[in-house]
Amino acid sequence: MIYADNAATTRMSRTAIEAMLPYMSEYYGNPSSLYSFGQKAKEALEEAREKVAKCLNCNPWEITFPSGGSEADNQAILSAARSGEKKGKKHIISTAFEHHAVLHTLEKLEKEGFEVTLLDVHSTGIIDPEQVAEAIREDTCLVTIMYANNEIGTIQPIAEIGKICREKGVTFHTDAVQAAGHIKIDVQEQNIDMLSLSAHKFHGPKGIGVLYTRRGIVLHNLINGGAQERGKRAGTENIPAIVAMAAALTEACDHMEENAARMTALRDRLMEGLDKIPYGELNGSREHRLPGNVNYCFEGIEGESMLLLLDDKGICASSGSACTSGSLDPSHVLLAIGRPHEVAHGSLRLTIGEDSTEEDVDQIIQAVTDVVTYLRNMSPFWRDLVTGKRTHVFSE
């Protein structure tokens, strides 16, 4: 099997698995318990917090552990909105191609009377910091812009956006789920006020994440109950997962440069191969994208059938077609960068990981080329494009 869906989830690293094991068998105490056995778990929790803080360049007390990226996004946005509301500020700025954890939370707030401005992400999938500066109003309480897009991997100018928000006194949150562990994050240097990440995207376990909240920003609860996490996130801490996440993130940050260089070389090799398929095009900026992300649209075919045929060849990939999203519309990300519906249905995302090899990449190129050709040969839409009954969107 060739796993090329690392943006969906990743294999847990040995280091992460080994780090968590003792906290399931030997040190299973509750960190809230007074006795030393419970305190052993508490120590592990605080040590993990320190490790995570070190990777993000923040203070340990600015870190809480939610169940993952979605919870972190929900809490950050709802929290900033509550704080804004108290000051009569009910305007939020975001982008059209955020993750649904962000977009659906913003829709909920819109129903409550908030006004949301979604910035255009252009065909490159990258916003211009100036757009943020222009969109900020007197009543803006939050800017929430993802660090790197989950479908097309484009990286936003986070430091510049952070600087603008800081100058204007607006809270800046970033969903860094796809970026964490893969590209450098420094919340101080980049003026980030709130940041979400999820462990299973960097070889940690599923069901655990991080919310960074800069000192001075009020964090409101999403989950009420006990006094865990300084009262900001109730529920007994998932110690094994937290410990494993900290180990995975530390490992990822320690090897970030070499991993990124290796994956970027593989990614470029993959893009070079897929560029040769006629009437296909890369989605999003070629330069400012995550080391492992490749995303193409191919004319005349549909994504789900591509995925099923690739699966038959042992390749795990993903698509933004309507049939894979379970709705009538293709991916909102592809529509946001201006892909027409008929082209967006033929999208393919391949996300390579630290384990990927050159042989994998070469096999993927061959398999995708074959599958695209096969499906086009049975597609009446493709026939219409070839015979000129319909017009091509892409060039050969």
Binding site: E302, E304, L308, S321, C323, L328
Partner: protein
């Protein structure tokens, strides 16, 4: 449980009757590229019997499987029987489809009906226009775009 039944996967992996019939007696196309699926059916009709049928499909796994199964169900059958093919029959023959994929079987039924209408029109065969009402556009999709 897998997304699709073994029957669907079989017809998806080994689609029957893929291709084009040059100078077909009837051609029908349903769906549109905006919705992400188009089915085109080519019929050869001899003595009121579907002597040959081919299809081309742009779409997901269940769209390809539905087209394949639909062509199998009408091949060698009298025209009248083919005209009575329902999406339900296609779905059942495939051992079911996920609920959000049922429209694929509807497209197969529509493409066949449109191919038959084309055959009737070309040959001046009278028919009840009511039978083909609302088939020309992918009505359910058009409303959403």
């Amino acid at each position: 449980m897998a997304l699709y039944s073994d029957k669907v996967m079989d017809h998806f992996r080994n689609p029957r009757n893929v291709g084009v019939i040059e100078e077909a007696d009837g051609v029908g196309e349903a769906g549109n590229p905006v919705c992400g699926d188009i089915m085109k059916i080519y019929l050869k009709i001899d003595d009121d019997v579907i002597s040959d049928v081919k299809f081309e499909t742009f779409g997901c796994g269940s769209a390809i499987a539905s087209s394949s199964m639909a062509t199998e169900l009408i091949k060698g059958k009298p025209v009248e029987e083919a005209a009575a093919l329902t999406n339900k029959a296609v779905t059942e023959a495939l051992d079911g489809l996920p609920i959000h994929k049922l429209h694929c079987s509807v497209l197969a039924e529509e493409a066949i009906k449109l191919a038959l209408k084309d055959y009737y029109d070309k040959n001046g065969i009278p028919y009840d226009p009511e039978e083909f009402k609302g088939l020309v556009d992918c009505a359910s999709c058009a409303e959403n775009h």
